[in-house]
Symmetry: C2
Subunit: 199 residues, 2 copies
Protein backbone atom coordinates (compact mmCIF):
# COMPACT_ATOMS: atom_id res chain seq x y z
CA UNK A 1 0.00 0.00 0.00
CA UNK A 2 1.24 3.46 -0.91
CA UNK A 3 0.10 5.02 2.37
CA UNK A 4 1.98 2.95 4.90
CA UNK A 5 5.68 3.41 4.95
CA UNK A 6 7.91 0.33 4.79
CA UNK A 7 9.29 0.77 8.35
CA UNK A 8 5.78 1.16 9.75
CA UNK A 9 4.44 -1.74 7.68
CA UNK A 10 7.23 -4.02 8.89
CA UNK A 11 6.54 -3.19 12.55
CA UNK A 12 2.79 -3.71 12.09
CA UNK A 13 3.44 -7.13 10.49
CA UNK A 14 5.79 -8.20 13.31
CA UNK A 15 3.37 -7.12 16.04
CA UNK A 16 0.40 -8.72 14.28
CA UNK A 17 2.09 -12.13 14.64
CA UNK A 18 2.18 -11.92 18.45
CA UNK A 19 -0.39 -13.91 20.44
CA UNK A 20 -3.64 -12.04 20.95
CA UNK A 21 -2.83 -9.39 18.36
CA UNK A 22 -3.93 -9.09 14.73
CA UNK A 23 -3.46 -6.56 11.93
CA UNK A 24 -6.08 -4.14 13.31
CA UNK A 25 -4.90 -4.05 16.94
CA UNK A 26 -1.29 -4.00 15.75
CA UNK A 27 -1.96 -0.97 13.54
CA UNK A 28 -3.61 0.79 16.49
CA UNK A 29 -0.58 0.12 18.70
CA UNK A 30 1.89 1.39 16.11
CA UNK A 31 -0.10 4.59 15.55
CA UNK A 32 -0.25 5.09 19.32
CA UNK A 33 3.53 4.61 19.59
CA UNK A 34 4.30 7.03 16.77
CA UNK A 35 1.95 9.64 18.17
CA UNK A 36 3.65 9.42 21.55
CA UNK A 37 6.68 11.03 19.89
CA UNK A 38 9.84 9.00 19.67
CA UNK A 39 10.75 8.51 23.33
CA UNK A 40 8.23 5.70 23.92
CA UNK A 41 9.46 3.89 20.80
CA UNK A 42 13.12 4.10 21.82
CA UNK A 43 12.27 3.03 25.36
CA UNK A 44 10.34 0.00 24.08
CA UNK A 45 13.06 -0.94 21.58
CA UNK A 46 15.74 -0.90 24.26
CA UNK A 47 13.54 -2.86 26.69
CA UNK A 48 13.08 -5.59 24.07
CA UNK A 49 16.79 -5.58 23.26
CA UNK A 50 17.49 -5.84 26.99
CA UNK A 51 15.38 -8.98 27.24
CA UNK A 52 16.97 -10.41 24.08
CA UNK A 53 20.45 -9.97 25.49
CA UNK A 54 19.92 -10.44 29.21
CA UNK A 55 17.55 -13.38 29.56
CA UNK A 56 18.66 -17.03 29.75
CA UNK A 57 17.47 -20.22 31.40
CA UNK A 58 18.51 -21.17 34.96
CA UNK A 59 20.62 -24.35 34.70
CA UNK A 60 18.87 -25.84 37.72
CA UNK A 61 15.18 -25.02 37.47
CA UNK A 62 14.68 -23.64 33.94
CA UNK A 63 13.26 -20.30 35.12
CA UNK A 64 14.35 -17.18 33.21
CA UNK A 65 17.33 -15.39 34.72
CA UNK A 66 20.29 -13.19 33.84
CA UNK A 67 22.97 -15.33 35.49
CA UNK A 68 23.77 -19.03 35.55
CA UNK A 69 21.16 -19.63 38.26
CA UNK A 70 17.90 -17.77 38.90
CA UNK A 71 17.02 -15.62 41.90
CA UNK A 72 14.78 -18.28 43.39
CA UNK A 73 17.43 -21.02 43.18
CA UNK A 74 20.07 -18.78 44.76
CA UNK A 75 17.79 -17.22 47.40
CA UNK A 76 18.74 -18.19 50.97
CA UNK A 77 15.08 -17.71 51.99
CA UNK A 78 13.74 -20.49 49.78
CA UNK A 79 13.59 -24.00 51.19
CA UNK A 80 15.71 -26.64 49.51
CA UNK A 81 13.57 -29.58 50.57
CA UNK A 82 10.53 -28.85 48.38
CA UNK A 83 10.51 -28.79 44.57
CA UNK A 84 7.40 -27.64 42.71
CA UNK A 85 7.28 -29.03 39.16
CA UNK A 86 5.53 -26.73 36.67
CA UNK A 87 4.93 -26.98 32.93
CA UNK A 88 6.04 -23.51 32.03
CA UNK A 89 7.60 -20.26 33.31
CA UNK A 90 4.12 -18.69 33.06
CA UNK A 91 2.93 -21.26 35.62
CA UNK A 92 5.91 -20.49 37.85
CA UNK A 93 4.95 -16.80 37.78
CA UNK A 94 1.34 -17.74 38.61
CA UNK A 95 2.53 -19.79 41.60
CA UNK A 96 4.72 -16.90 42.77
CA UNK A 97 1.81 -14.47 42.55
CA UNK A 98 -0.07 -16.59 45.10
CA UNK A 99 3.03 -16.15 47.35
CA UNK A 100 2.31 -19.34 49.30
CA UNK A 101 5.03 -21.70 48.09
CA UNK A 102 8.41 -21.19 49.76
CA UNK A 103 10.41 -23.99 48.11
CA UNK A 104 12.13 -24.12 44.72
CA UNK A 105 10.84 -24.85 41.25
CA UNK A 106 11.50 -27.09 38.30
CA UNK A 107 10.20 -25.91 34.92
CA UNK A 108 9.60 -28.78 32.47
CA UNK A 109 9.12 -26.61 29.39
CA UNK A 110 6.00 -28.52 28.33
CA UNK A 111 4.16 -31.77 29.00
CA UNK A 112 4.71 -35.19 27.42
CA UNK A 113 2.93 -35.19 24.08
CA UNK A 114 3.13 -37.79 21.34
CA UNK A 115 1.42 -35.33 19.00
CA UNK A 116 4.07 -32.61 19.46
CA UNK A 117 6.97 -35.06 19.66
CA UNK A 118 7.76 -34.11 23.25
CA UNK A 119 9.42 -36.96 25.17
CA UNK A 120 11.09 -37.01 28.65
CA UNK A 121 14.43 -35.81 27.17
CA UNK A 122 12.85 -32.66 25.72
CA UNK A 123 11.18 -31.83 29.04
CA UNK A 124 14.06 -31.59 31.50
CA UNK A 125 12.70 -34.64 33.36
CA UNK A 126 16.16 -36.31 33.60
CA UNK A 127 17.51 -33.12 35.23
CA UNK A 128 14.66 -33.29 37.77
CA UNK A 129 15.44 -36.93 38.57
CA UNK A 130 19.09 -35.92 39.02
CA UNK A 131 18.20 -33.00 41.31
CA UNK A 132 16.05 -35.24 43.50
CA UNK A 133 18.65 -38.05 43.37
CA UNK A 134 21.33 -35.83 44.95
CA UNK A 135 19.26 -35.92 48.16
CA UNK A 136 17.88 -33.29 50.52
CA UNK A 137 14.51 -33.08 48.77
CA UNK A 138 11.64 -34.16 51.02
CA UNK A 139 8.73 -33.50 48.66
CA UNK A 140 8.12 -33.03 44.95
CA UNK A 141 4.85 -31.18 44.24
CA UNK A 142 3.53 -31.83 40.75
CA UNK A 143 1.71 -28.59 39.82
CA UNK A 144 0.73 -29.67 36.32
CA UNK A 145 -2.43 -28.92 34.35
CA UNK A 146 -5.44 -31.12 35.06
CA UNK A 147 -5.49 -32.24 31.41
CA UNK A 148 -4.81 -35.68 29.93
CA UNK A 149 -1.27 -34.72 28.81
CA UNK A 150 -0.58 -32.99 32.14
CA UNK A 151 -1.70 -36.02 34.15
CA UNK A 152 0.23 -38.43 31.90
CA UNK A 153 3.33 -36.36 32.58
CA UNK A 154 2.62 -36.32 36.34
CA UNK A 155 2.23 -40.10 36.30
CA UNK A 156 5.49 -40.55 34.38
CA UNK A 157 7.44 -38.28 36.75
CA UNK A 158 5.99 -40.00 39.86
CA UNK A 159 7.08 -43.31 38.35
CA UNK A 160 10.61 -42.03 37.65
CA UNK A 161 10.95 -40.68 41.19
CA UNK A 162 9.58 -43.77 42.98
CA UNK A 163 13.08 -45.26 43.25
CA UNK A 164 14.32 -42.24 45.24
CA UNK A 165 11.63 -42.73 47.91
CA UNK A 166 10.84 -39.01 47.88
CA UNK A 167 7.26 -38.00 48.69
CA UNK A 168 5.44 -36.97 45.49
CA UNK A 169 2.23 -34.90 45.76
CA UNK A 170 -0.08 -33.12 43.32
CA UNK A 171 -2.19 -29.99 43.72
CA UNK A 172 -5.59 -30.41 45.37
CA UNK A 173 -8.58 -30.70 43.05
CA UNK A 174 -11.93 -29.12 43.83
CA UNK A 175 -14.10 -26.04 43.66
CA UNK A 176 -12.04 -22.94 42.73
CA UNK A 177 -12.34 -19.89 45.01
CA UNK A 178 -15.38 -17.89 43.86
CA UNK A 179 -16.65 -20.88 41.87
CA UNK A 180 -20.38 -21.58 41.74
CA UNK A 181 -21.38 -25.24 41.78
CA UNK A 182 -23.96 -24.65 39.09
CA UNK A 183 -21.27 -23.68 36.57
CA UNK A 184 -18.72 -26.38 37.39
CA UNK A 185 -18.24 -29.49 35.26
CA UNK A 186 -19.01 -32.95 36.61
CA UNK A 187 -15.34 -33.92 36.89
CA UNK A 188 -14.54 -31.00 39.20
CA UNK A 189 -17.55 -31.69 41.42
CA UNK A 190 -16.59 -35.38 41.65
CA UNK A 191 -13.00 -34.40 42.54
CA UNK A 192 -14.22 -31.91 45.16
CA UNK A 193 -16.47 -34.54 46.71
CA UNK A 194 -13.76 -37.18 46.93
CA UNK A 195 -11.33 -34.58 48.28
CA UNK A 196 -13.75 -33.31 51.00
CA UNK A 197 -12.36 -32.27 54.37
CA UNK A 198 -13.70 -31.98 57.92
CA UNK A 199 -15.13 -28.53 58.54
CA UNK B 1 8.14 -10.24 42.63
CA UNK B 2 11.09 -12.51 42.99
CA UNK B 3 10.15 -14.64 39.98
CA UNK B 4 10.13 -12.08 37.21
CA UNK B 5 13.45 -10.62 36.29
CA UNK B 6 13.79 -6.83 36.13
CA UNK B 7 14.33 -6.75 32.32
CA UNK B 8 11.27 -8.93 31.76
CA UNK B 9 9.19 -6.96 34.24
CA UNK B 10 10.10 -3.67 32.57
CA UNK B 11 9.09 -4.96 29.12
CA UNK B 12 5.80 -6.36 30.47
CA UNK B 13 5.00 -2.99 32.07
CA UNK B 14 5.79 -1.06 28.88
CA UNK B 15 3.69 -3.36 26.70
CA UNK B 16 0.81 -3.37 29.19
CA UNK B 17 0.44 0.38 28.67
CA UNK B 18 -0.26 0.00 24.94
CA UNK B 19 -3.85 0.33 23.72
CA UNK B 20 -5.77 -2.96 23.84
CA UNK B 21 -3.16 -4.68 26.03
CA UNK B 22 -3.11 -5.25 29.77
CA UNK B 23 -0.80 -7.03 32.24
CA UNK B 24 -2.09 -10.51 31.33
CA UNK B 25 -1.88 -10.23 27.53
CA UNK B 26 1.41 -8.38 27.85
CA UNK B 27 2.88 -11.20 29.97
CA UNK B 28 1.71 -13.72 27.38
CA UNK B 29 3.39 -11.77 24.56
CA UNK B 30 6.69 -11.46 26.46
CA UNK B 31 6.77 -15.20 27.24
CA UNK B 32 6.03 -15.94 23.58
CA UNK B 33 8.86 -13.64 22.49
CA UNK B 34 11.38 -15.17 24.91
CA UNK B 35 10.40 -18.70 23.92
CA UNK B 36 10.95 -17.86 20.26
CA UNK B 37 14.66 -17.60 21.10
CA UNK B 38 16.31 -14.25 20.69
CA UNK B 39 15.98 -13.63 16.97
CA UNK B 40 12.34 -12.48 17.15
CA UNK B 41 13.17 -10.12 20.01
CA UNK B 42 16.10 -8.54 18.17
CA UNK B 43 14.04 -8.25 14.98
CA UNK B 44 11.21 -6.53 16.87
CA UNK B 45 13.60 -4.20 18.73
CA UNK B 46 15.24 -3.06 15.50
CA UNK B 47 11.86 -2.62 13.77
CA UNK B 48 10.71 -0.34 16.59
CA UNK B 49 13.99 1.55 16.53
CA UNK B 50 13.59 1.91 12.75
CA UNK B 51 10.20 3.54 13.21
CA UNK B 52 11.53 5.77 16.01
CA UNK B 53 14.35 7.05 13.82
CA UNK B 54 12.81 6.96 10.35
CA UNK B 55 9.28 8.29 10.74
CA UNK B 56 8.33 11.97 10.55
CA UNK B 57 5.36 14.04 9.43
CA UNK B 58 4.94 15.17 5.81
CA UNK B 59 5.15 18.98 5.78
CA UNK B 60 2.25 19.22 3.32
CA UNK B 61 -0.35 16.67 4.36
CA UNK B 62 0.73 15.43 7.82
CA UNK B 63 0.96 11.76 6.75
CA UNK B 64 3.88 9.74 8.16
CA UNK B 65 6.93 9.62 5.90
CA UNK B 66 10.68 9.24 5.95
CA UNK B 67 11.47 12.36 3.89
CA UNK B 68 10.27 15.94 3.89
CA UNK B 69 7.16 14.99 1.89
CA UNK B 70 5.25 11.69 1.87
CA UNK B 71 4.92 9.24 -0.99
CA UNK B 72 1.36 10.29 -1.75
CA UNK B 73 2.24 14.01 -1.96
CA UNK B 74 5.21 13.31 -4.24
CA UNK B 75 3.49 10.66 -6.40
CA UNK B 76 2.97 11.78 -10.02
CA UNK B 77 -0.05 9.46 -10.22
CA UNK B 78 -2.05 11.30 -7.56
CA UNK B 79 -4.28 14.17 -8.68
CA UNK B 80 -3.47 17.63 -7.35
CA UNK B 81 -6.99 19.00 -7.70
CA UNK B 82 -8.64 16.96 -4.93
CA UNK B 83 -7.77 17.12 -1.24
CA UNK B 84 -9.34 14.67 1.18
CA UNK B 85 -9.35 16.02 4.76
CA UNK B 86 -9.09 13.30 7.42
CA UNK B 87 -8.85 13.43 11.19
CA UNK B 88 -5.97 11.07 11.60
CA UNK B 89 -3.32 8.99 9.78
CA UNK B 90 -5.36 5.88 10.70
CA UNK B 91 -8.23 7.34 8.65
CA UNK B 92 -5.87 8.06 5.75
CA UNK B 93 -4.80 4.40 5.81
CA UNK B 94 -8.46 3.33 5.89
CA UNK B 95 -9.18 5.53 2.84
CA UNK B 96 -6.17 4.07 1.02
CA UNK B 97 -7.32 0.52 1.73
CA UNK B 98 -10.53 1.24 -0.20
CA UNK B 99 -8.24 2.29 -3.11
CA UNK B 100 -10.89 4.57 -4.62
CA UNK B 101 -9.54 8.05 -3.90
CA UNK B 102 -6.85 9.23 -6.33
CA UNK B 103 -6.23 12.73 -4.98
CA UNK B 104 -4.10 13.92 -2.07
CA UNK B 105 -4.74 14.11 1.64
CA UNK B 106 -4.66 16.53 4.52
CA UNK B 107 -4.37 15.07 8.01
CA UNK B 108 -5.76 17.36 10.71
CA UNK B 109 -4.37 15.43 13.66
CA UNK B 110 -7.68 15.56 15.54
CA UNK B 111 -10.99 17.39 15.54
CA UNK B 112 -11.92 20.69 17.16
CA UNK B 113 -12.65 20.00 20.80
CA UNK B 114 -13.16 22.48 23.59
CA UNK B 115 -12.81 19.65 26.07
CA UNK B 116 -9.34 18.63 24.87
CA UNK B 117 -8.21 22.19 24.16
CA UNK B 118 -7.87 21.56 20.42
CA UNK B 119 -8.36 24.74 18.40
CA UNK B 120 -7.81 25.41 14.67
CA UNK B 121 -4.10 26.16 15.23
CA UNK B 122 -3.47 22.74 16.80
CA UNK B 123 -5.20 20.98 13.90
CA UNK B 124 -3.24 22.08 10.84
CA UNK B 125 -6.34 23.92 9.56
CA UNK B 126 -4.35 27.09 8.66
CA UNK B 127 -2.00 24.93 6.55
CA UNK B 128 -5.03 23.48 4.74
CA UNK B 129 -6.42 26.97 4.01
CA UNK B 130 -2.98 27.92 2.71
CA UNK B 131 -2.75 24.81 0.48
CA UNK B 132 -6.17 25.54 -1.02
CA UNK B 133 -5.41 29.25 -1.29
CA UNK B 134 -2.41 28.61 -3.55
CA UNK B 135 -4.89 27.47 -6.23
CA UNK B 136 -5.26 24.38 -8.40
CA UNK B 137 -7.55 22.60 -5.94
CA UNK B 138 -11.01 21.93 -7.41
CA UNK B 139 -12.54 20.05 -4.51
CA UNK B 140 -11.98 19.54 -0.80
CA UNK B 141 -13.61 16.34 0.51
CA UNK B 142 -14.25 16.43 4.25
CA UNK B 143 -13.91 12.78 5.34
CA UNK B 144 -14.48 13.41 9.04
CA UNK B 145 -16.29 11.29 11.59
CA UNK B 146 -20.06 11.61 11.76
CA UNK B 147 -19.82 12.74 15.37
CA UNK B 148 -20.66 16.13 16.89
CA UNK B 149 -16.98 17.18 17.11
CA UNK B 150 -16.28 15.87 13.59
CA UNK B 151 -19.19 17.78 12.12
CA UNK B 152 -18.31 20.96 14.03
CA UNK B 153 -14.83 20.73 12.53
CA UNK B 154 -16.25 20.10 9.03
CA UNK B 155 -18.47 23.16 9.41
CA UNK B 156 -15.55 25.31 10.57
CA UNK B 157 -13.34 24.20 7.67
CA UNK B 158 -16.12 24.75 5.10
CA UNK B 159 -16.53 28.25 6.54
CA UNK B 160 -12.79 28.97 6.34
CA UNK B 161 -12.63 27.78 2.73
CA UNK B 162 -15.74 29.63 1.53
CA UNK B 163 -13.65 32.69 0.56
CA UNK B 164 -11.55 30.60 -1.86
CA UNK B 165 -14.64 29.51 -3.84
CA UNK B 166 -13.42 25.89 -3.86
CA UNK B 167 -16.06 23.16 -3.90
CA UNK B 168 -16.32 21.53 -0.45
CA UNK B 169 -18.02 18.13 -0.13
CA UNK B 170 -18.52 15.58 2.62
CA UNK B 171 -18.76 11.78 2.52
CA UNK B 172 -22.17 10.29 1.70
CA UNK B 173 -24.26 9.16 4.64
CA UNK B 174 -26.42 6.05 4.54
CA UNK B 175 -26.64 2.31 4.98
CA UNK B 176 -23.13 0.75 5.23
CA UNK B 177 -22.37 -2.16 2.87
CA UNK B 178 -23.60 -5.35 4.53
CA UNK B 179 -25.72 -3.31 6.95
CA UNK B 180 -29.14 -4.60 7.98
CA UNK B 181 -31.85 -1.97 8.39
CA UNK B 182 -33.07 -3.63 11.55
CA UNK B 183 -29.77 -2.95 13.32
CA UNK B 184 -29.21 0.63 12.13
CA UNK B 185 -29.88 3.64 14.28
CA UNK B 186 -32.60 6.16 13.38
CA UNK B 187 -30.12 8.85 12.34
CA UNK B 188 -28.50 6.61 9.73
CA UNK B 189 -31.84 5.55 8.28
CA UNK B 190 -32.97 9.17 8.10
CA UNK B 191 -29.68 10.11 6.37
CA UNK B 192 -30.03 7.20 3.94
CA UNK B 193 -33.58 8.21 3.09
CA UNK B 194 -32.75 11.85 2.43
CA UNK B 195 -29.70 10.76 0.40
CA UNK B 196 -31.67 8.27 -1.77
CA UNK B 197 -30.75 7.89 -5.42
CA UNK B 198 -32.51 6.73 -8.59
CA UNK B 199 -32.08 3.00 -9.09
Amino acid sequence: MLAEQSEIKKLIDLLARLPGLGPVSSRRIVLHLIRSKGSRLTELASAIQGVAEGVRECVDCGNFCSDLKCRICTSPERLDDQICVVQDVADLWAMERSAVFKGKYHVLGGVLSMLHGLGPEELRIPILVERVGVGGVQEVILALSATVDGQTTAHYIADQLSATGTRVTTLGRGVPIGGELDFLDDGTIAAALSGRRDY
